[in-house]
């Protein structure tokens, strides 16, 4: 570790992994509720378990992004963090606020939570992904501002690199777009229109900048390729992201009461959204092929290549599958959407966070550059277990989705939703079993932090050139 203050990242990474476990456990619960509708009912109804699953995902990814920023910003800026104390304080505030919110979901009926937190003063609750009580949302904004101040000042007073600036723009965009979560008009169409400014412009806009910059950082470190080369790639990738992703928002404006020209704008621009993801794949493999040295942390390189590949598959390929309006007419709001959501979130954002953790954690724990071979082998096993699981989860949900679309929407004798769900239960069973394997992968992942700690660091074979 080059700068003492980078060590705050460790807290953030540990919390991220802990919440990740919670997310997966709740995923298994709702997966089972799909099949055994009365499982845990009425104590923990599906909607409560689902919001716990999705909110934990978002919160742990945010912990991961913040940890990534606290780790890489000082190193890039070549100076200590503006205020490590503020970073630690915000960590605890965010963690406690997050824990209270989740406890609120689980212990109080949702409408009771709305009452307790005076939702009627400023109603923002009860919309997908934005279920948090208004007071929690305000807390998120406060934490985000303190965080942006902290890394913003560090960058301002230090060396300004492209990686740092792209990361900062991404993080600032994340915070600014979140403000639309406070806009909740009674008009359903307007509500939905701006809801997407948070959700879509996050995952297909500013989060991609964060993804790109973390990936670029890890590639600079592990391949030794010239920073200039990597920066050029990063520029082109983020330019393509913004050109396609912003108007690409239109792929959510086909059927919610917005004008029909969005079917053209949305289809054309979102059809180009896979381009930046594909460029990321080419970028990562190219840089690794052109590497100047072999980095001893093979696991981190594997995660980086995995991210670039799986983000393209999940977001690019599975996104494209249903993004054209004539297709989306039939697939909108089905298991096809769920299939895509899972692979895209895992491939892009889960994996990039695990990439930076894989790269940084050994160093944060006092290693020179990498864990022991034994630990890395285990970590790579977990990579394959989790990644192959998510591929199969996606395939099973896609199969379920195709059947659902056919039986419920396409065939001449369309059947009711609940009847169709019964007919495709086989795929939900397969999905649930695969979910268990994912959990095993996650346990192996965590185990990799505890094995081989007293063994020597992995070393590298002589360089290729």
């Amino acid at each position: 570790m080059q700068y003492q203050s980078q060590s705050v990242a460790k807290l953030y990474f540990i919390a991220a992994i802990g919440l990740f476990v919670g997310q997966i456990l709740f995923g298994l619960i709702i997966g089972l509720q799909y099949l055994m509708g009365d499982f845990m009912f009425p104590e923990i109804p599906f909607n409560v378990a689902r919001m716990t699953h999705t909110n934990l995902l978002i919160v742990w990814l945010l912990f991961g992004f913040m940890g990534a920023a606290y780790y890489l910003v000082p190193e890039e800026a070549e100076r200590e963090l503006e205020s490590p104390l503020l970073a630690k304080l915000m960590f605890w505030i965010f963690l406690v606020a997050g824990a209270l919110t989740v406890l609120g979901y689980l212990l109080v009926p949702y409408s009771g939570l709305a009452q307790m937190t005076a939702n009627s003063l400023m109603p923002t609750m009860g919309r997908e992904f934005l279920e948090q009580p208004t007071i929690t949302k305000i807390g998120i904004v406060v934490v985000a501002l303190a965080f942006l101040y902290n890394i913003g000042m560090t960058i301002l007073k230090g060396r300004k690199t492209v990686v740092n600036l792209v990361l900062l723009i991404g993080l600032a965009g994340l915070a600014v777009l979140f403000l639309f979560a406070f806009y909740n008009p009674a008009n359903v169409v307007l509500d939905k229109f701006f809801w997407w400014w948070v959700v879509h412009l996050w995952v297909e806009g500013v989060w991609e900048l964060i993804l790109g910059s973390i990936l670029a950082f890890v590639l600079i470190k592990t391949t030794g390729v010239d920073r200039e080369v990597i920066e050029k790639w990063l520029y082109v990738i983020i330019a393509m992201t913004l050109i396609t992703g912003i108007i690409g928002t239109g792929h959510h404006y086909y059927w919610i009461g917005t004008p029909e020209y969005w079917q053209w704008w949305g289809s054309i621009f979102s059809a180009m959204e896979p381009i930046p993801f594909f460029m990321m794949t080419v970028f990562a493999f190219n840089m690794v092929n052109k590497r100047r040295r072999n980095h001893p942390n093979k696991a981190a390189v594997l995660w980086a290549l995995g991210t670039a590949t799986m983000a393209f598959l999940g977001a690019g390929v599975w996104g494209f599958l249903h993004t054209l309006s004539p297709v989306n007419f039939y697939t909108h709001g089905t298991q096809i959407t769920a299939a895509h959501g899972h692979m895209a979130f895992y491939g892009a954002y889960v994996m990039i966070v695990l990439t930076i953790i894989s790269y940084a954690m050994p160093i944060l724990r006092g290693r020179q550059a990498a864990n022991s071979n034994r630990s890395q082998v285990l970590e790579m096993w977990s990579f394959w277990l989790m990644t192959v699981s998510i591929v199969f989860i996606t395939l099973f949900l896609t199969a379920a989705g195709i059947l659902q679309v056919y039986l419920q929407r396409f065939s001449d004798t369309a059947m009711p939703f609940m009847v169709v769900q019964d007919k495709i239960a086989l795929f939900y069973w397969l999905r649930e079993l695969t979910g268990v394997i994912f959990l095993i992968g996650l346990v192996v992942y965590i185990a990799s932090f505890f094995v081989g700690n007293d063994e020597p660091e992995a070393s590298v074979e002589p360089t290729a050139e």
Partner: protein
């Protein structure tokens, strides 16, 4: 920039499509109830939400009007239906049930470019 222009145009074009003339006090109250009970955590509304339970954007038509909606919500057993995906019993007052039903009626009258493809949602 272009996106902002299109967004601005959309927002100006919405009055033609978003059924705002029927957005009464009761409908607004219905939306709050919809949110404070997190119906979106199980259902989709115009295709957005969770995929655990039926689409409700057109439930007004599928269930044959407000009475059908109210009857359905009212009749949910407190402990669920054994083995079946269950919807909670929310113990709404008659006035609240009316508000939710009117909210779903209002949503069903939004011009959605003919989505969903059929009555099953």
């Amino acid at each position: 920039m272009l996106f902002l222009a299109l967004s601005f145009d959309s927002v100006s074009a919405l009055p033609e499509r978003d059924n705002r003339q029927n957005l009464t006090e009761t409908v607004a109250q219905g939306k709050i109830l919809w949110e404070e009970n997190n119906c979106i955590g199980c259902h989709t509304l115009l295709g957005e939400g969770a995929y655990f339970a039926p689409e409700l954007g057109n439930a007004y038509h599928r269930l044959g009007g407000e009475a059908g909606i109210i009857g359905f919500i009212k009749s949910r057993p407190k402990d669920g239906i054994p083995g079946r995906r269950s919807m909670p019993q929310f113990n709404f007052s008659d006035e609240e049930l009316q508000a939710i039903a009117e909210f779903l009626k209002y949503v069903s009258e939004i011009n959605t470019a003919n989505w969903p493809p059929n009555i099953q949602g």
